[in-house]
Amino acid sequence: MLTLTIDITIFSDEVISKAVYWETNQYIVSRQLNGKTETLTFEPKPQCTENEAALKERFLTRLNDFKVQQIVDNETKDLRTILYIKAFANNDDFEAITE
């Protein structure tokens, strides 16, 4: 069983949740908030044959990657909305709103 303590001022709940999500095929993951840290406990499911070092390396990589993705998503959220409106809304209506 692996236990990791994550600084939640560095990794948001959304980022941790996304990284945990992908581990749920092999692990039962429990989460415990303790102030500015969160403790994650990974209990292997019966079919899991992986060692803890591999899990730790993959999970921390995922955390960092999801954090980068989160920055992209946050910074481009409004632009993505504009893009979808321009692509799919009735153009006349959209032009009328933006004028």
Partner: protein, 469 residues
């Protein structure tokens, strides 16, 4: 200073794969996404200009090219413009074969009460004409639809009559095992320009073993020859289904297709419906299927390198999504999903279902994806509560595991498969074998484009151009 445009990324072999909102991709050194968000890419770098040119970053908060990007996004989703274009008519559940992998729960040829009633059929054709699509495809399925030629004729004559005023482009497809293509059926095909979609499982022994018959191969091959002779070479295509025994014969199956005059093959995995559910280890099957696919594709690439054009159709569909701005008509790889949006099924029992797989579930007593009855109104069927409920989880852009996936643009949502294999329409990507299969196949194709580009690109380009020409 630059601004970000929406994109997703994943670690890919020794590099990083970046894919933007419209499916353009770049292979970059690992850590590139982090460098981009940290504003570490300098204008002096070639990468800066690649990112700019491929819509990953912008010099201004709103990119000067946003209208181009919006037009491309709209084009990618153009399959939504016309709504349901593929209308499947399950004319009968009766069949004259006993395929071990039958997904449709077909019944004996002599079974009673398994044919569609004529009034239901005619009403279903009327429903089809309510679709706003300018192009309508009527696909006749079964069981074995060639057993009920009078229903095929009635459906087409009704469609032709309605089209006198509707002026739509109609395409007719007969999905048949080709073992009993009578003069009546072939005359019908010739009269109405019906395309034949048949199935060939591979070499004689494998095919006959799959069909539970000792002479199926000879009959199918003879049926294909007769159909080609009567209708023309280009009117007959074939699908293969990868049964468990087939997994050992990737090259032999391709060769059987070539020997029978086919210039393409569609590698199709078993789906967990009907008799196919008796396969008891889907995990192992999926692992073996992915390897089978890679071996078969490698062999097909070698064939093409020798100068013979031979296309793997599933790969071509993925390539079209990766390399062209256009959508594909393949309902399994769409977001929003193909169910209702692109396909609907009118079943022999008078039910209307969200997809072919939906009616297969119904044969097992599960009516979750039954939209209603043929006698219901078009609005209640296509815009009713059920369709709205499916919409909650039919877009890869919004569901967990897909919304962040770098391969999102090349993949599709499948609430029916999620439901049938995982018990919920929403599904759980980490344990989804469909996710694993599609991801492995798409990554394999991207790997070919990355590592063997000079070798495969001329072949892949020819495959795509051949279809778009």
């Amino acid at each position: 200073m630059y601004y970000l445009l929406p994109f997703r990324f994943e670690r890919f072999e020794d590099s990083e794969l970046l894919v933007n909102e419209v499916g353009d991709y770049l292979f970059c050194p690992q850590g590139t996404a982090a460098r981009i968000v940290n504003r570490e890419i300098s204008k002096d770098e070639e990468l800066y200009h690649d990112l700019l040119a491929n819509f990953f970053i912008s010099p201004t908060p709103i990119p000067p090219t946003i209208d181009i990007l919006a037009a491309r996004l709209r084009t990618k989703k153009a399959f939504l413009d016309s709504f349901t274009a593929l209308h499947i008519f399950v004319l009968t559940l009766r069949c004259n074969q006993n395929c071990v992998y039958c997904q449709a729960t077909s019944q004996q040829e002599c079974a009673h009460g398994k044919d569609m009633k004529l009034p239901d059929l005619l009403k279903a054709v009327e429903l089809m004409f309510r679709s706003p699509s300018e192009h309508l495809t009527m696909e006749f399925q079964g069981g074995e639809p060639s057993l009920v030629p009078h229903l095929i004729r009635a459906a087409i004559e009704k469609a032709e009559a309605l089209n006198q005023t509707a002026h739509k482009t109609l395409t007719y497809v007969l999905c048949t095992n080709s073992v009993h293509l009578t003069d009546e059926v072939l005359t019908l095909c010739k009269q109405f320009n019906i395309l034949i979609s048949t199935s060939l499982d591979g070499p004689r022994n494998l095919h006959n073993s799959n069909r539970g018959k000792i002479d199926s191969y000879e009959k199918v091959v003879a049926g294909i020859a007769l159909a080609r002779q009567t209708l023309g070479e280009d009117k007959v295509s074939a699908l293969m289904t990868t049964s468990v025994p087939a997994l050992d014969y990737p090259k032999e199956i391709v060769d059987a297709y070539r020997e029978n005059g086919f210039r393409s093959i569609f590698i199709r995995a078993l789906n967990p419906y009907g008799l196919a559910t008796e396969n008891n280890d889907w995990e192992a099957y999926t692992t073996r299927f992915i390897e089978f696919y890679k071996q078969m594709l490698d062999y097909i690439i070698e064939i093409n390198k020798s100068g013979e054009l031979f296309v793997e159709e599933f790969t071509r569909l993925i390539l079209q999504k990766i390399l062209t701005p256009f959508p594909i008509g393949f309902v399994d790889l769409q977001s929003p999903a193909g169910i209702v949006n692109s396909v609907v099924v009118y079943n022999y029992d008078g039910g209307v279902y969200a997809s072919d797989e939906s009616r297969m579930l119904a044969e097992a007593g599960d009516y979750t994806f039954r939209l209603g009855n043929i006698s219901d109104t078009y609005e209640s069927l296509f815009y009713g509560e059920k369709a709205q409920h499916f919409a909650d989880c039919w877009a890869t852009e919004t569901i967990a595991g897909c919304s962040d996936c770098a391969l999102q643009s090349y993949c599709g949502a499948d609430p029916v498969r999620n439901y049938s294999t995982q018990g919920s329409m929403y599904g759980h990507r980490p344990t989804s074998l469909l996710c694993r299969k599609y991801k492995a196949i798409i990554e394999h194709i991207l790997s070919l484009l990355k590592n063997r580009n000079e070798e495969v690109m001329p072949i892949f380009t020819q495959w795509i151009k051949g279809r778009n020409a």
